[in-house]
Amino acid sequence: MSDHATTSMTGGDHAVDIDKHVRIYITVFVALMVLTIVTVAVSRFHLPVPIAVTVALIVAIIKGSLVACYFMHLISEKKLIYAVLAVTAFFFVALMVLPVVTVHDGFWIH
């Protein structure tokens, strides 16, 4: 089956391009593993909750960005997809911020 359907996608430059991609995937994989160890190691220090939350979220955001940028190819995507994600990000941030600002006395809700 494989030989039968060799595609025209494997042109010279294209194949080199994919090889470059594969090297990036391996690098990202190593980075994600290291950051997973960092996340678990930091939690062992039992830092005060605000600091622990901040560190955990920063590491998670870095890991998530690596997955989105390289595995999901967002680093080089078309404008329309960025536009869709910008709208999504706006509403996502609103979703996250609304509960936080409404539970603290003296801000929006008294």
Partner: protein
């Protein structure tokens, strides 16, 4: 009727229909998980006290599952890269590995859940467990859904490779986007539920 723009690029969007479709779907998924995360923040910040996740949950098993899911993202993207190189045999190996890793993730999750059930730690026990089961349960369903789609492309769906390899490659890329999203959600669930 055939679906238009599965291989050729639509001029106004600059994308295939499948690509824009999967991203719109993922946008809706962001809002679904976002609403539950917001609920988690609201319940936690409103609670007089909240347990640390590692006092109630199994961190080593969850760390193992994090490694499993990240590895499955790599095998998924390698499956797509194999098709881009025209190597169907390698694609089958990587895609098979992705499905297998998904299966390992769900088995580990089963052991976690069954240990909680034996201890009597059920969704109605407290708010922490309620949000834990809701978020990880929904995530587990996504893992299962992704496995079903990937299994289709590994098995019967792979026939398309013979007749239209570019379309098949695009389909695998799109199922990969979903799979990476599921990995991404776990990257946030793991520290926020288990470690804080």
């Amino acid at each position: 009727m055939d679906i238009p723009y599965t291989v050729e690029i639509r001029r106004d969007t600059g994308l295939t229909n499948g690509k824009i479709g999967i991203w719109l779907f993922l946008a809706s998924e962001v809002m679904l998980f976002g609403a539950l995360f917001a609920s988690y923040i609201l319940i936690r910040t409103g609670a007089p006290s909240w347990p640390r996740g590692d006092t109630m949950l199994d961190v080593p098993l969850a760390t193992l599952n994090t490694i499993v899911l990240i590895s499955s993202s790599v095998t998924m993207v390698m499956a797509w890269a194999s098709l881009m190189r025209g190597r169907f045999g390698t694609f089958r190996i990587y895609m098979g590995g992705t499905i297998l890793l998904g299966f390992v993730f769900l088995i580990v999750k089963y052991f976690e859940y069954s240990a909680h059930f034996h201890e009597g730690a059920l969704p109605h026990t407290n708010n922490f467990l309620a949000i834990y089961y809701t978020l990880t349960g929904l995530h587990g369903l996504h893992v299962f859904g992704g496995m079903v789609v990937n299994a289709y492309f590994w098995g019967p769906g792979a026939k398309l490779w013979k007749t239209n390899p570019t379309w098949f490659t695009n389909r695998v890329e799109h199922s990969g986007l979903f799979w990476h999203f599921v990995d991404l959600v776990w990257i946030f669930l793991f520290p926020t539920l288990y470690l804080l």
